[in-house]
């Protein structure tokens, strides 16, 4: 027996969208991993629309940059993408040195390359680990986290800080590589492929994982370019753009490595790209550590562009003068009244700083171009039509770090 249609139409206010309901996802939700918020419009379990909200972690980093000197601000860059602070340090001082026109020593470029690649490995480990965690592969996450711990140990031996490294300085780095650091990196290069193979065996053909990520959140090549995707997200969609090869900075010209690309553009492709990039990063680290040039790590004291070591300050007159010249507020660096942009291939994509100099030691304006913002902006496009459980898979595969997103 069927119900007459008139009974349904009895309520005059009923509209076609009335069966949709709204779900508030975040800002505090275990699967967002950081503080971001989504307002989802659901039709049953299917996501009809998603409205991303951000700004919960906004702390005015760009405003602070106008009040801190080029060396001080590196501590703030640590807190942008705190999954790979070393990469941010390298990006910031790469941009500063582009503005000031400073050429690094060969040893310094190699050291920065090594730490940036180690940061990429640790970032990809967390990103892939989190995708695994959110799709039910907890063991995989622990494998990844153990290796992050090893990288933290290397950084701790290197500069004393595990998490917020603040490692780079204008014209150099804070600590040179010691034999112990080199030994630890060599050990990591040797042992890490085994874990990587284990991780690959755990997840690459895991039925649950593949079913939950393959064909989910597809980003076509045209959309990836139109929406400004960079890094692994773009490369998983077939955009063969990698600044390490296209605009070789630091020492990337010297190494033999491949750019990983996929064409499907789904969550599974992004996962595979990150797995492959870790192998390539490891190749770069291995080549760099074996061919590490000798010589000074920082630019000489005479150049007055980099802070001298405490030993030099206390025992040489040049060191003392240089230290005072660089630390005094009316001296400091020779900053041109110019503006320049320089970017590196950070783990998440193109991380660049547009710096305006006005002769002062602080930047007149330092704009950070964060890859996370553009990746998060395309989230509604990726999730439309998928189910609620796919939200966490897509979020994880985009690797959105709210601290970098909001700055």
């Amino acid at each position: 027996m069927s119900i007459a249609p008139t009974e349904f139409e009895s309520s005059p206010e009923a509209r076609s969208e009335d069966y949709l309901w709204t779900l508030n996802f975040g800002p505090q939700h275990p699967a967002t991993h950081t503080t971001l918020r989504l307002v989802l419009k659901l039709d049953g379990e299917r996501v009809v629309d998603a409205i991303p909200e951000m700004g919960y972690l906004h702390s005015g980093f760009e405003k602070i940059a106008e009040h801190l000197t080029f060396n001080q601000y590196v501590t703030v860059t640590d807190r942008m993408n705190y999954i790979s602070p070393m990469a941010n340090n390298v990006a910031w001082h790469h941009s500063v040195e582009t503005l000031l026109g400073i050429n690094l020593t060969p040893r310094c470029t190699y050291i920065r390359t090594i730490v940036a690649e180690l940061a990429r490995i640790s970032d990809h480990l967390l990103s892939n680990g989190a995708v695994g965690l959110d799709t039910g592969a907890f063991t995989y996450f622990l494998y990844a986290f153990y290796q992050r711990e090893v990288i933290y140990d290397i950084f701790e031996t290197l500069c004393g800080a595990r998490f917020t490294n603040s490692y780079t300085r204008v014209g150099g780095v804070s600590h040179d590589f010691t034999p112990l650091v080199i030994e630890k990196i060599r050990a990591f290069v040797k042992t890490f492929p085994k874990t990587l193979n284990d991780m690959q065996r755990l997840l690459n053909r895991n039925r649950i994982f593949v079913d939950r990520t393959q064909g989910v959140g597809i980003l076509t090549k045209e959309e990836a370019i139109n929406r400004g995707a960079t890094g692994p997200v773009a490369r998983a969609s077939g955009v063969t753009r990698d600044l390490r090869r296209d605009e070789p900075y630091l020492a990337y010209d010297d190494f033999d490595f491949q750019i990983s690309c996929a064409s499907t553009g789904d969550c599974y492709a992004r996962y595979l790209i990150r797995m492959q990039e870790m192998r390539e990063s490891l190749k770069i680290v291995e080549q760099a550590i074996e061919h590490l040039p000798s010589g000074p790590v920082n630019i000489g004291v005479d150049e007055r562009t980099t802070l001298p070591t405490k030993n030099q300050v206390y025992s040489t007159i040049e060191g003392t003068i240089s230290h005072f010249e660089l630390s005094m507020s009316n001296r400091g660096f020779e900053v041109p009244c110019e503006e320049s942009y320089a970017a590196i291939e950070a783990p998440n994509g193109e991380l660049g700083f547009y710096i305006v100099g006005d002769g002062e030691d602080q930047a007149y304006r330092a704009r950070c171009r964060p890859p996370s913002v553009l990746n998060f902006a395309m989230f509604p496009h990726l999730i439309r039509g998928h189910t609620l459980s796919d939200v966490v898979a897509v979020l994880g595969s985009l690797n959105i770090i709210a601290a970098e997103l909001d700055r």
Partner: protein
Amino acid sequence: MTNTSETSTDNAVENTHVRALNAFCGPVKSSIYRNQQRVIVPVEESFDALSMLKDRGFDLFIDVTCVDYLEYRKAKHRYGLVYLLASTMNAERLTIRTFVDDPKPTVASVVPLWEAANWLEREVWDLFGIHFTGHPDLRRLVMPEEFTAHPLRKDYPLQGRGERHNFPVITRDHS
């Protein structure tokens, strides 16, 4: 148009894109600094110029940002907008700058050209108060909706104007 852009105009090497822009919107100021080609276009023609550059191969919209030149020496305009473009085909880059002024700084939105500009322009509106005409959804991006100031302007103090202590408290009953 700051003093620096004018002084470095002379040593600019002619670039095919700059030549095209010259033909398109009259003589433009171009300069090169640290191998970066920069062109200043008039604000009325910024949309058409960027549209033309997109057709010329700059398919990737890297960033749009703003600089408040309030305290900059010899600056003639208050706000400078910076568009960073790149090509995925040949790794070329180009920086386009344009200037706007108070009382109502306005520029045409480039969201019809690149979807990537959507959130970036919202951020510039939020932090600098530059109005983008034709933007589909010009809301604040990082600051709360109740906020009235534009904090990255140079006349906004570093520690704020006490807004933090006056934010409305939303209770569970009212949310």
